[in-house]
Subunit: 453 residues, 2 copies
C-alpha cells in the first residue's frame, strides 16, 4: 500500500487535478491520497493558504474580508467548473468558510489555525468529489473522525503518540481515502496546524501509521538535485539517497522536503519517493534507510548563509572542567541554538544562525562570557556560510577530504572552519559568504564533473 501526497502546485487547477487522478488510478496500491491546499498556477499567483491567512487577520481586526473570501471560493469554483463538478461541493465549502469565520476569536492564534486549515480540508472534499465524479470510489476523510490527534500548539502542532494506532484502521476502509494535509485536532477537539509544509508531515504520519510500503511525495521537480540549480546549471539528479544524507542536505538549504516531515517515515523505515506530478514517468528520487554505494563518495553538496561565530579564548582553557558547559549555558539563557563548536586547545568558537541575535543580545552575551567565564578574548565574525558535502560513501574513501580541500584551495577559497568526524556521511566547511558560490561550484566540479582528458 502506498500513501501519496500532492503539493499545492499539483492541485492548483483542474488540469493539474486530472494529472493527479491519472497518477492515483494508475496504481491500485495508491490507497491514501494526502492533499495540500491549491497552490500557485503561475509565478505571480497567490496560494489559497496565504489568502486564508489574510482573511483571518482581517476578521481579527473586524474588517471585511470579502475580497479574500471571494478569491478563495473563486479558486475552488474555477477548479470545479473546469472539471464539471456539481455546485454542491462549492456550496459546502462556502458554508464551511462562513462557519469558521464566525467562530470564537478570543485566541487569535487558534482562529488563524482554524482558517488556514480549511485550505487543505476543503480541497480534500473537492478532490474526493472529483474522483467520485469519475466513477471511482473515493472518500474525504475527516482527520478528527480518523483520529489524527495533535498537541495544542498553534502553527507547530505535534502528532500525539496515540494517533498512530487510531489511524491504522484507515487500512480497512474501501476505496481511495482523500486526507487533508497540514492539521489535526487537539484532545479538546480544536484544529491545530503543523509547521509550514505541514502536508508533507501528514503524509509521513499516515505512511507510518498505516505501515505503508512507500510514501510518494509528488511535487513539481523531477528529482532532488545534487547541488542547488541556482548555483550550478543542470546539476546531476540524485536517484537514491538515505534519510541521513537527505537530513544533512536539507539542513543546509535543500528545501524540497522539510526535514522534520521525514521523521515519522524514518522511524518506521518507510522509503520516500519524491516525484514530479508533471512528469510521473520520471523515477524521481528515492529516500531509503540504506543504499548501495556505487556512485563515488559524494551524493550532494548543500550550502546555507547567515551564520556567525563567537570566538572565545582563555589560556589553559582545556584544563578547566566545566568551561564548555558554562559557555553553552550562557547561550541557552538567551534561547540561542548553536550549530557547531570547533575548538582548539585554549579556544573554542560557537557557530550560530545570525538571525537569532540582535545587537543588544550580542553585547549581553559577550559581556557575560567575558565576565562570568573570565575569557581572555571574545570576538564575533559575521557573514559566514556553511557548506555540507554529503555522502554515505565517504566512510570508505580515504581521500575525500584531500579532494575537497584541494578543490577549495584551487578556487582560492579560504576555509574558515572544518568540522568532520562525528557524522560519518558529511564534512562541513565554513567559508565567508562572498566565497560560498565559488566554493560550491568548485566542489561540484571536483565530485560530479568527469575529467575529460
Amino acid at each position: 500500500m502506498k500513501v501519496v501526497k500532492f503539493g499545492g502546485s499539483s492541485l492548483a487547477s483542474g488540469k493539474q487535478l486530472e494529472k493527479v487522478f491519472q497518477i492515483v488510478t494508475a496504481d491500485p496500491e495508491r490507497k491514501v491520497v494526502v492533499v495540500s491546499a491549491p497552490g500557485k498556477r503561475y509565478a505571480e499567483d497567490t496560494k489559497v493558504t496565504d489568502l486564508l491567512i489574510e482573511c483571518a487577520e482581517l476578521c481579527l481586526q473586524n474588517k471585511n474580508p470579502k475580497v479574500q473570501l471571494d478569491n478563495v471560493l473563486g479558486r475552488y469554483a474555477s477548479i470545479a467548473e473546469e472539471l464539471r463538478l456539481s455546485d454542491a461541493v462549492i456550496r459546502e465549502i462556502h458554508d464551511d468558510l462562513l462557519t469558521r469565520m464566525a467562530s470564537d476569536k478570543s485566541k487569535p492564534d487558534r482562529f488563524i489555525d482554524l482558517l488556514k486549515a480549511s485550505g487543505e480540508d476543503n480541497n480534500a472534499k473537492l478532490v474526493a468529489a472529483y474522483f467520485q465524479s469519475q466513477g471511482i470510489e473515493a472518500h474525504y476523510v475527516d482527520p478528527k473522525e480518523a483520529g489524527l490527534l495533535v498537541s495544542d500548539e498553534p502553527g507547530n502542532a505535534q502528532a500525539l503518540p496515540e494517533s498512530y494506532e487510531r489511524l491504522f484502521s484507515l487500512n480497512e476502509r474501501s476505496g481511495i481515502q482523500v486526507f487533508p494535509g497540514f492539521f489535526g485536532y487537539s484532545l479538546s477537539g480544536e484544529v491545530f496546524t503543523f509547521s509550514r509544509s505541514g502536508s508533507d508531515i501528514t503524509g509521513s504520519i499516515l505512511a507510518n501509521a498505516l505501515k505503508a510500503d512507500l510514501y510518494e511525495n509528488f511535487t513539481d521537480v523531477d528529482a532532488v538535485y545534487s547541488v542547488n540549480p541556482s548555483i550550478v546549471q543542470k546539476p546531476k539528479e540524485i536517484k537514491e539517497l538515505t534519510y541521513r544524507e537527505m537530513r544533512e542536505l536539507s539542513y543546509a538549504g535543500f528545501t524540497v522536503l522539510h526535514d522534520e516531515a521525514l521523521v515519522p517515515a524514518f522511524r518506521a523505515g518507510i522509503p520516500v519517493n519524491i516525484k514530479n506530478t508533471n512528469n510521473p514517468a520520471a523515477p524521481g528520487t528515492l529516500i531509503v534507510n540504506e543504499r548501495d554505494n556505487t556512485n563515488g563518495p559524494v551524493i550532494g553538496i548543500a550550502s546555507d548563509k547567515g551564520f556567525c561565530s563567537i570566538y572565545v579564548s582563555k589560556y589553559l582553557m582545556n584544563r578547566e572542567i566545566g568551561f564548555g558547559r558554562k559557555l553553552l549555558g550562557v547561550l541557552e539563557d538567551y534561547g540561542l541554538s548553536y550549530e557547531h563548536t570547533p575548538s582548539g586547545i585554549d579556544d573554542v568558537s560557537v557557530i550560530l544562525r545570525e538571525n537569532q541575535l540582535d545587537e543588544k543580545v550580542m553585547v549581553e552575551v559577550i559581556d557575560r562570557i567575558k565576565n562570568e567565564l573570565q575569557a581572555d578574548e571574545v570576538k564575533v565574525a559575521h557573514s559566514l556560510s556553511l557548506i555540507m558535502v554529503v555522502g554515505e560513501g565517504m566512510r570508505r574513501n580515504v581521500g575525500t577530504m584531500a579532494r575537497a580541500s584541494k578543490a577549495l584551495a584551487n578556487a582560492s577559497v579560504n576555509i574558515e572552519m572544518i568540522n568532520q568526524g562525528s557524522s560519518e556521511v558529511s564534512m562541513m566547511f565554513g567559508v565567508k559568504e562572498v566565497d560560498e558560490k565559488r566554493a560550491v561550484k568548485a566542489l561540484y566540479e571536483e565530485f560530479f564533473v568527469p575529467v575529460t582528458v
Copy 2:
C-alpha cells in the same frame, strides 16, 4: 636582566656545574639562577627527587630510609668533592634533611612535599657555595624570605598574586641570586611544591616578577624539534616560535617545556630561550609573542595517543536547545575533562583522554546519556591519536589543509576527525593509534622535506 634556569641533568655532577658556572658568568645580565635538584648522570641513574620521595614514604611507614638518605647525601658530597668545596655545605644539607625527616607526619602529602623540596633547596645552597668558592658574589635565596607565596595544594601549588610584587625586590640585591626551583611557602609558612617540572614554573614566575628581559631555560637538547625525533630521524630544529605555537605543540606530546610553566612569562610577554647546557653556543629555540613568518605555513607537528570518543546521535538534535550543555554536564558530574566536540547535524562526538575512564564510569556515563538525553545511539571508539599541525603561517595560506589531507590520503591514513577553525594556528586530525606514526611522517615530509626534482 636575565633569569636563567638549569634542569636536573645540567646539575647532575661537578663537571656539569662547571658548565653552568661558565654559562652564568659569561653574561653579566644573568643575575638570577634557578636550579633543579641533581638529575641523572647516566640513563640508569636515579634523580635526587625520586630518592627523596622514596625516603619520605619509608619515613611515613616508620621504616628506616638510611640507604636513600645516604644516596642523597652521597650525590651532593660527590659534587662538592669534585669541585673541592668545604665540608660545611654538606654538613648543612645533612642537618637540614634530618630536621625535615623529624618533622610532623600527620599530613602525609605535606610531609612528602617538604622532603621533595629539599632537593632543589639544598642544591641551591651547594651551587651558591660553589660560585662563592670561585670568587663570585653569589647568594642562596630562601623562597620564604624572598616572598614566593603559594596556595596550600600539595604537589600542585599555585603562586599567590602578591608573590610577584614581593619578589620584585630581588632586583635590588647585589651579586648572583641562586633560587631553588619547584616550591614556595604557604601563608602559614609550610612548604608546598608545584606540579612536576616545577622548576620551570619557578623560573617563569621570577622572570615575570622581576620583569626580566629574557628567561633562559637550559636543558639537554639543542632546540625544540619540529617533530618527535623518535618518529622522524634528525628533524628540523625550530629557531623561533610563538607561545601559542608552543602551547599547541606541548598539548600533544612536546614535553621539552611544561606548558603550564609558560603562563607567567606569557602573561608578561617575556621571551623564553630554550638552550643546551652542553652546547651553549647553539642559539636554541626562542619562544616569543609574535614572530616573522617566513618559513612556510607549518612550524611543528605533534601527536599524542590515548584518546577515545563518545559518539551520540539523536534525530533532530540540532533543534534541541540545551542538548550540548546537558551532555557536557553529565561528563562534568564525573569530573571528566574533554578535548573536542566535533558535531554533525544530528550527532556529536566528545573526545576525551582515555585514562580518565574506567569501565564502570564509562557504563554509567553511557547509561545517563541514553536515558537522560534520550539519545538514539551512543557508542565509544577507543585508541585514537590526535595530531596537531601547528604554525602561525596557516592563517595566510589557503592550501594548507589540502596539502595535509593529501599527504594523509597518499599514506593511506583514514582521517577519523578534523577540527579546524577555532585556533588560527593549528589544525587537528584524529586518526587511529596504529596510523599515528605513518601519519606524522607523511605530514613531516609534506611540510619540511624539500621536493627534489
